[in-house]
């Protein structure tokens, strides 16, 4: 079975294989061809592995003959994004917007991050309260963006229709749990 097939089937060891297969080439390429240091290259490569895995699982990448070349390209583009972002930040003149964000960063209770943290907390508690099957269905469909055909196959359902109905029920339960937890907490 190819690496892509293993990634699609959710084989956890396939990510380790991908790292082993591409790490050296990608890190060497990044360190030699860009301004990255070793640690930055490791971070970029980590993100590239996650991005690649997500794309394969979501069915956005189906056939890659040369995984090393593909991954090198992904790493290079991620680096390019980081590099451009850095340049933009360096060249930016101090302005009102910048002062605003600096001010917000130093606030002990920041409304925005407070809301974000609250949602993080509630949604993670809500999903934990669901059954194992529901958790998996939600992960496959909403987080990994798999097709209904994939979800049905992975869950051992008879067809996509069954998967769709189960998915709907599970998400409904999740939504109810979030509402319940919100009421209890606040």
């Amino acid at each position: 079975m190819s690496l892509i097939d293993r990634l699609r089937k959710g084989d956890v060891e396939s990510l380790a294989l991908l790292v082993e297969e591409c790490k050296e080439v990608c890190l060497k390429h990044l360190v030699k061809k860009t301004t990255c240091n070793y640690e930055e290259a490791e971070d970029i490569f980590t993100e590239a592995v996650v991005v690649f895995g997500e794309k394969v699982v979501a069915g956005k990448v189906e056939n890659v003959i040369n995984v090393k070349a593909y991954m090198t390209g992904v790493c290079y583009n991620l680096w390019l994004n980081v590099y451009k972002q850095k340049q933009k930040e360096e060249s930016r003149e101090p302005d009102v917007e910048r002062f605003f964000y600096e001010y917000m960063d130093h606030q002990p209770v920041d409304k925005i991050s407070n809301l974000r943290e609250r949602l993080y907390d509630i949604s993670s508690r809500a999903i934990e309260s669901l059954s194992k099957n529901c958790k998996e269905i939600i992960r496959y469909f909403y987080l990994e963006e798999r097709s209904m055909t994939d979800v049905a196959a992975l869950m051992g359902f008879a067809n996509e229709k069954v998967a769709k109905v189960s998915k709907y029920k599970c998400f409904k339960r999740l939504r109810e749990q979030v509402a319940l937890l919100e009421q209890r907490t606040y």
Binding site: L27, E42, V49, G53, K60, A69, S123, R139, R175, V178
Partner: protein, 269 residues
Amino acid sequence: MELSEKETELIRKYFDAELSEDESSELETLENSSDAFREELLTQKAIISSLKAQEKARKMEAVKKLVSAKKIVIDDAVAEESPDAPVIPLEDKSNLEVGSEPKGFPLYYKIAAAVVLLLVASAVFYTQFSGPSPEDLYLSYYEPLDSNVSTRSYTKDEDANPLEAYQKGDYEQAVNVLVRAIEKPDAIPLLRVYLGISLIQTGRDAAAIEIFQMVYNENPNNFTGQYAEWYLALIELKRNPKTAKERFKKIAEQGGIYDREAKEVFEKL
């Protein structure tokens, strides 16, 4: 306020990407007119994006562990040793002394050292006389062309950016977009170079060769042609190093964007 069954179904369809055109406009209208509808849609979006963010953070952490488990050596610069690597302190020589051997290293250490020396010498000999393999050269010299290489607009349609997917590294999508973009009568030839690179990135070398060959034949004397020729040479490096060598020689001799790199590859082949 509770949503109607129809409104709930609209939201479900939105997340399942099943909305028809009419339903999309209905959803948009409801978003602007009903606070309850908008709030429910936003809450569901927030739940999903929050779970997605947590899942991504978990994945990043797990992969980071895999990536940083073992350091690699990049040429002469030796990366830091892994903290788990065993270290023998130099002053502690007790573990080097065996039995009644008087002083110095025991025999099997000497044999091991000789074997290591022999291996190192063979490796040096091998790299001196055989040079890097075509695959190594390909990996050292190949990189996707910077998408900002041209300051001109790619088509006359200022709103469209056919390189958006390419810039994001989504080469599968880039192929889909660029295949259509190059068909437009006002598309500049450089777009086909980007299509060729996207094809390489997705492992379709044969199709990339066709594109690059076509671009080169049509633009032998300008920058676009030079890009196409460089990538043609690189693909040949993987498929047929002999013909690639000739091509690199030609690129080096004629001068241009890649003459220095081509000379280096030619000399290493």
